[in-house]
Amino acid sequence: MSLETITTLPWVEKYRPKTLNDVVNQEEVITSLMNILKTKAVPHMLFAGPPGVGKTATAHAFARDLYGPNYMEDGWFVEINASDERGIQTIRDKVKMFARQIPMGGEISFKILLLDESDQLTDDAQHAFRRVMEQYSSTCRFILAANYSNRIIEPIQSRCAVFRFRPLLKKDIIGRIKWIAEQEKLEVDDAALETIYEFSEGDMRRAINTLQAAASISRKIDEKIVYYILGYVSRGEIRKILELAMSGNFTQARDELRKLIYVQGLAGSDIVSAIYRELFYLDIGEEDKLELIDLLGEVDYRIVEGGTEEVQLMAFLARLAAKSKKISVGR
């Protein structure tokens, strides 16, 4: 079984908690939800917290516990991802379609709609959605999941019970990874665990993905393997761009940057974050580093202000190239 499953299912799916009892590390939230389950008086809810801490999984687990294992097939529960549904109109249409028909034969009179990444909705869309919430509240309850509750407008927040998911601690992540490793009969040494944790930045999904990728090359997982994977899946591309710029191949760095933006479709803000992570480890003087950190902050701000992502990032790369050149001349 376990040999098979290494490559059969994504582990983030396989080890997704099925019931509220399976959800780890969110005791406060789970206790409240259990109480709600007992009374079956489900309010609109806002799940707020960083990525990869179990918001979506908890919503599913809650619905399964409430409606039973066929909670989706029987039409009790549906999820919409706000970042994929552009425009409030599609959301309204979808919501209406879903909420209008009351499923027959249950003791519960309402369905549940999960609106994931709801902080991606524009203000206008949120205001429209608020009315939808009111209109259909007798037949449909909403769970909104969001990274930042402050991006959800007040009128929505005030209509929701807000649940704060706390960031996962080191022991939570390492504990879960160890447990999965046991299930999958893997040997993961401590340094590898440490590295997986450090890179995950508290995101369980990322940690589990890294473990599964490592398991695809070896049952014995050490730090070296983890770094090898990280080179492929994340740090590799950004680091390559920075190195190209630093070694004087500006046009190549530019071309790679553009591929990230226009082929992979990465958001400028995510590229900025990734550069930020790498910046501390670059082979340049501390004073220059500081200047570059400051510049990167400016780039970050300008992108939000409406600046073109590639242009602002190119300006950063050009400055990085100039700094690196001084270093190599100095040697």
């Binding site: 040999l3 098979e4 290494i6 490559t7 059969t8 299912l9 994504p10 983030v12 799916e13 990525p51 979506t56 991802n81 970042s83 994929d84 994931d116 990444e117 991606q120 993905n209 890294t210 599964q212 990728a213 695809s216 090359i217 492929y232 899946v233 994340s234 590799g236 680091r239 390559k240 190195e243 004087g248 500006f250 046009t251 190549q252 530019r254 071309d255 553009r258 591929k259 226009y262 082929v263 992979q264 479709g265 990465l266 958001a267 995510d270 300008r302 202000e305 409406g306 600046g307 073109t308 242009v311 602002q312 190119m314 300006a315 050009a318 400055r319 190239a321 100039a322 690196s324 050149k325």
Partner: protein
């Protein structure tokens, strides 16, 4: 697979080369003399305006007669040492058994005439003396004085602008192959504006006709005047080489192009025109500032900010560029536009993969593409094939699996490209995965 039609319809055989029959004949005879073992001249210099088939002839010949065409771009090397490494070596490995016959193709040879490459020319001269394989050079303008020694050594083959009828004929063939209905009038207009440059005519055709079933006079309206491109190149030269901000600003006045359009040209030509890292950083600082002005103009509809954006972007690169670039650096079409063409397919495959992941893993397609796709790509590429069900789980198509393997599978994928005629720049190999 979206592909530039100029590549797709490059002649595969010599007979398909359009026009310039005498020049083709001269080239064929010269190659024949190589086959017989005693060429009167060891090199040929094909010269003439752009887009008339000089390079295509050599590539088609190589393909038809079984030669490897080793292509070196003049901007790739600047001095004798490099020249020897790239050209010299190939020229000494002529095979006598006919197993791998070679032609060395030196593109843009007029580009090395600059003072920085003086060593390059004399090295080329020596290599021509010693070569055992045909060397073909291509130039727009062969009359630069620095090329005199090479002219003496070479068979000079002139290419002329193509006739309108020849261009129309070729465009018609392409339209037939692409299943596009089009009248002779429309093709005639395209041919007209190309001024004998078949490549630009095909470029225009693709720009207005790709994806359409019929092409009408009206579709041509989107095309700017062809010589506008020439004008832009001209303007760029003025901008980058301006002595004053006033001069740089003036250079774009006659262009009748949106400042934002000119901006993309400046942006993408800056790295080749400004080679000193400090100066380039300064130029980009200013270009980034201009970008912010554009954003504010857009957002606040505050058009009067344009008067700051323009001198900042034009004067910016002029002031920043203090050191002249090494050797000849021509101005080019914005890289970004080419990139979009080139990677359209890849982008679509990636999106499709992301959607499939998103729908099964409760994620937005963006997060799926960013957080899951690389891992799944890695697993698919590295796990034992017999147990590979993850692709089935997501219902990826073969094409999608191939894509993931190519990107996350390892370093082998690039070999094929190199083999295929174009000897890529030897210096700039990308480094291994970190």
């Amino acid at each position: 697979m979206p592909q530039l039609w100029t590549e797709k319809y490059r002649p595969k055989k010599v007979a398909e080369v359009v026009g310039n029959k005498d020049s083709v004949k001269a080239f064929l005879e010269w190659m024949k003399s190589w086959e017989m073992g005693k060429p009167a001249k060891k090199a040929a210099l094909l010269y003439g305006p752009a887009g008339v088939g000089k390079t295509s002839l050599v590539l088609a010949y190589g393909r038809e007669y079984g030669y490897d065409v080793v292509e070196v771009n003049a901007s790739d090397w600047r001095n004798e040492e490099k020249m020897k490494a790239v050209v010299g070596e190939s020229s000494q490995y002529a095979s006598l058994d006919g197993y791998s016959k070679k032609i060395i193709l030196v593109d843009e040879v007029d580009g090395i005439a600059g003072r920085e490459d003086a060593g390059g020319i004399s090295a080329l001269r020596r290599i021509i003396n010693e070569t055992r394989v045909p060397i073909v050079m291509v130039a727009n303008n062969p009359w630069d004085q620095k090329l005199a020694p090479i002219r003496e050594q070479s068979l000079m083959v002139e290419f002329k602008r193509l006739s309108k009828t020849a261009i129309i004929k070729r465009l018609k063939e392409i339209c037939e192959r692409e299943g596009i209905k089009v009248s002779d009038d429309v093709l005639s207009r395209l041919a007209e504006r190309s001024e004998g440059d078949l490549r630009s005519a095909i470029m225009d055709l693709q720009a207005v006709a790709a994806g359409k079933n019929t092409l009408t006079e009206k579709d041509l309206e989107v095309l700017g005047e062809r010589n506008r491109v020439k004008q832009v190149f001209e303007a760029l030269r003025y901008i980058f080489y301006a002595k004053s901000i006033r001069g740089a600003r003036a250079a774009i006045e006659g262009l009748e192009l949106e400042p934002q359009t000119i901006y993309t040209w400046i942006l993408d030509n800056a790295p080749t025109q400004i080679t000193e890292p400090d100066e380039l950083a300064q130029a980009f600082d200013l270009l980034a500032r201009a970008d912010i002005y554009f954003a504010r103009i857009e957002k606040l509809q505050m058009w009067r900010l344009m008067k700051y954006a323009i001198p900042v972007m034009t004067g910016g690169v002029a002031v920043a560029r203090r050191t002249p670039p090494k050797g000849f650096q021509k101005f080019t079409f914005p890289h970004k536009i080419r990139l979009f063409q080139q990677y359209k397919n890849e982008r679509e495959i990636r999106q499709s993969i992301a959607w499939k992941i998103a729908s099964r893993l409760h994620l937005s397609s963006y997060k799926a593409g960013k957080e899951m796709l690389p891992y799944i790509g890695f697993i698919i590429s590295h796990a034992d094939k017999s147990k590979l069900r993850i692709a089935e789980y997501f219902e990826f198509t073969d094409e999608e699996v191939e894509y993931l393997k190519k990107i996350y599978g390892g370093v082998e994928e690039k070999k094929e490209e190199v083999k295929e005629v174009k000897a890529k720049k030897p210096v700039k190999r990308s480094r291994g995965k970190s």
